[in-house]
């Protein structure tokens, strides 16, 4: 079963710049970074790791469009189709300007919640999920670079050396079942 186990090597840092530099160095050596864990968003680190920009924006647009269409169709159904009303002497099929506010609000509502839900699905976050941490302080002031031992071009020595050169506080290895 040993072959099924996943082995990781972690470099633990206390400086965001050092994380950035070691990720850049390792990428230059051709090593794939499994992930990094940071207490705050380190801008540019995702690009340095080679993560593509998220497609959540497309999802948000689709959700917004659904909200917009829902609002228009529903208002037309109510005010023109199902139970037409003459209000203020205006023709019963000419209500469109007064549909704008509700259409706008529903577009925003669907975008926000649709995108929120997509975000939670995509990041597999759910209420009560038990976190998997390398170090308790990774949500406080420490930064972790995680590399899988099976990664492309993995050379333990080289990785260790890079971590040490960049001033890692600690280097850890861990094995997971599955």
């Amino acid at each position: 079963m040993a072959s099924k186990n996943k082995k990781f090597i972690y470099g633990i840092f206390d400086d965001a710049d050092a994380v950035m530099h070691s990720v850049e160095k390792l990428r230059k050596q051709g090593v794939d970074i499994h992930d990094c864990y940071t207490p705050f968003p380190v801008h540019g680190l995702d690009r340095a790791m080679g993560i593509r920009r998220s497609n959540l924006t497309v999802g948000a647009f689709i959700c917004g469009a659904i909200g917009c269409i829902t609002a228009i169709v529903f208002q037309l159904y109510v005010m023109v189709g199902d139970w037409p009303m003459i209000i203020g002497g205006k023709p019963e099929d000419g209500y469109y300007p007064s549909f704008i506010p509700v259409t706008f609000e529903l577009t925003i509502l669907f975008t926000a919640f649709g995108m929120g839900i997509l975000f939670f699905i995509r990041t597999k976050m759910v209420h009560g999920k038990v976190e998997q941490l390398v170090d308790l302080r990774q949500t406080d002031d420490l930064f972790v670079v995680a590399i899988e031992e099976k990664a492309h071009n993995f050379d333990k020595e080289a990785v260790n050396r890079t971590f040490v050169e960049e001033g890692a506080l600690e280097i850890r290895e861990r094995e997971y079942d599955k």
Binding site: D15, A16, D17, A18, D35, C36, Y37, T38, P39, F40, P41, V42, H43, G44, L45, D46, I51, R53, S54, T57, F74, Q75, V78, M79, D82, W83, M85, G88, Y95, S98, P101, V102, F104, E105, L106, I108, L109, T111, A112, F113, M115, G116, F119, F120, R122, T123, M125, V126, H127, G128, K129, E131, Q132, L133, L136, R137, Q138, T139, D140, D141
Partner: protein, 466 residues
């Protein structure tokens, strides 16, 4: 990495490190509440009790317990509704608009301002719901469901229905924005927790957050989009609130300037309330290093700007009333200024137009005691603005036989005081159980370790990683 100009004040003072940020901001959550907290919370609970009692009276006895009458059918309740909704505008404005403008000073105030937004909108919602009379069925009438009220459906041509959609969307999107922004901080508290209950609660709400860069990358996209859609949302909400008045044909209400004027007023009052709360909170929770005088100064400038916009709107309204040549419109405005409610009008003018101009003086903008005083003045002024718009426009009807005066009963005053109870109860609980400052964002604007060391030697302008 971004370059921070040396002429800019540092956003976090006292040479704090990331660990200091966690310690300082988690301290109030992890220690026993202070006597001051119990005192404040107790007072808030008493006011909340008043709210429950007066609302029960309004429901069981009816709206006869209020001072409203046939001519002035909208009065204290709608005044307070607009007052609270206005206060609810600063939070999302700070977190959304200032995020889009990359204003980093928002980072230490956005969390508490957003909390304030949510609590203020909750207070606001009470008024129209109870004004509907039968609160146990009223909210159902507002939903787009077939009903037996004359027409089969709700009326999508009515600004009151637009308001239902606007306020509920604003509340739920603000709540989502607030909660999403808090997840990384909840994880920080979870990982510091020492008792199983704390661990369980914060674990439940932090959704397994581990600070993975892959998650952060998506999180940043979500924050940006949420900010992008919240910005027009904030503007739309008070625009629609103003349409409750502007789409009617009452002299004094029927003006096209209302939407921008209400939005400016809402931001003005919202920042007033944010300052009221933060001037105290930074002192009590010892957060002066994060909410600096510079932050207060920046907020005072927003107050100065929006206060001037509101002043301009008042003058424009007056000019247009005269220029339109409509006698009813002219009378409505003359009556505001010199009629029986002249004191309300002049309170509004003094508090909203003249007093914010004092913030041109830099020394006063940087004096917390003065700022606190002024923030109360702004709150009072904005309450009077809504009172003036609503009551003085209505009380002199077209027919002089319908002319009346309006004064609130003790039940109405009780509801208003009670909403402060609700607001502060929520705020005290928030300050007790949730991080009042966005820790992860504040950490991101601290100088990184390697640069902090460089700066010590060179006295060079700060380079801030972000």
């Amino acid at each position: 990495m971004s370059y921070e100009s040396p002429i800019r004040e540092p956003l976090v003072t006292g040479g704090k490190t990331a660990a200091d940020v966690s310690n300082d901001i988690c301290r109030p959550l992890e220690n026993k509440p202070t006597k001051l907290w119990w005192l404040g919370f107790g007072l808030a609970l008493i006011c909340l009790g008043i709210l429950v009692y007066t609302l029960a009276l309004s429901s069981f006895i009816g709206l006869g317990t209020w001072g409203i009458n046939k001519t002035v059918g909208w009065a204290w309740d709608i005044t307070n509704f607009v007052f609270w909704v206005g206060i609810g505008h600063a939070g999302t404005l700070i977190s959304a608009i200032l995020l889009l403008f990359r204003q980093k000073w928002r980072m230490s105030i956005n969390r508490s301002a957003e909390a304030m937004t949510i609590f203020a909108v909750m207070c606001a919602a009470i008024f129209p719901l109870f004004h509907m009379g039968r609160v146990w069925i009223g909210p159902v009438w507002a939903l787009p469901l077939p009903n037996a009220l004359g027409s089969l459906w709700v009326n999508f041509n009515s600004p009151l229905l637009w308001d239902v959609f606007a306020i509920s969307t604003y509340f739920s999107v603000s709540l989502l924005f607030w909660y999403l922004g808090m997840i990384p901080d909840l994880a920080t508290i979870r990982d510091r927790a020492t008792t199983p209950i704390r661990k369980f609660m914060y674990r439940f709400f932090s959704m397994g957050w581990d600070g993975s860069v892959r998650t952060w990358a998506r999180y940043e996209v979500v924050s940006l989009i949420l900010a992008g859609i919240s910005t027009p949302l904030v503007l739309s909400v008070h625009t629609i609130v103003s349409m409750d008045f502007a789409t009617s044909v009452i002299p004094g209400w029927h003006t096209t300037i209302f939407p921008p004027y209400f939005v400016a007023g809402a931001i003005f009052s919202g920042f007033g309330m944010v300052l009221t709360l933060l001037v105290i909170a930074r002192k009590v929770l010892k957060l002066e290093a994060y909410i600096t005088i510079g932050h207060l100064d920046a907020m005072c400038r927003v107050i100065l700007l929006t206060g001037s916009m509101v002043g301009l709107a008042y003058i424009t309204e007056f000019f247009i009333a005269w220029y339109s040549g409509v006698e009813y419109e002219r009378y409505a405005f003359l009556n505001r200024m010199s009629g029986p409610y002249w004191w309300a009008y002049w309170s509004m003018m003094t508090c909203n137009v003249i007093s914010p101009q004092l913030f041109w003086v830099k020394k006063w903008r940087r004096n917390p005691n003065f700022i606190f005083f002024m923030s109360i003045v702004v709150n009072i002024g904005m309450w009077f603005e809504r009172f003036v718009i609503i009551v003085t426009s209505l009380h002199r009807d077209y027919l002089p036989s319908s002319w009346v005066m309006y004064s609130p009963t003790w039940v109405e005053i009780g509801i208003f005081i009670g909403t402060f109870g609700l607001f502060f109860t929520c705020f005290f609980l928030f300050a007790r159980y949730l991080p009042v400052i966005n820790m992860s964002e504040v950490k991101s604007i601290l100088p990184s370790k390697s640069h902090a060391n460089e700066n010590e030697h060179a006295h060079q302008p700060e380079v801030v990683t972000q």
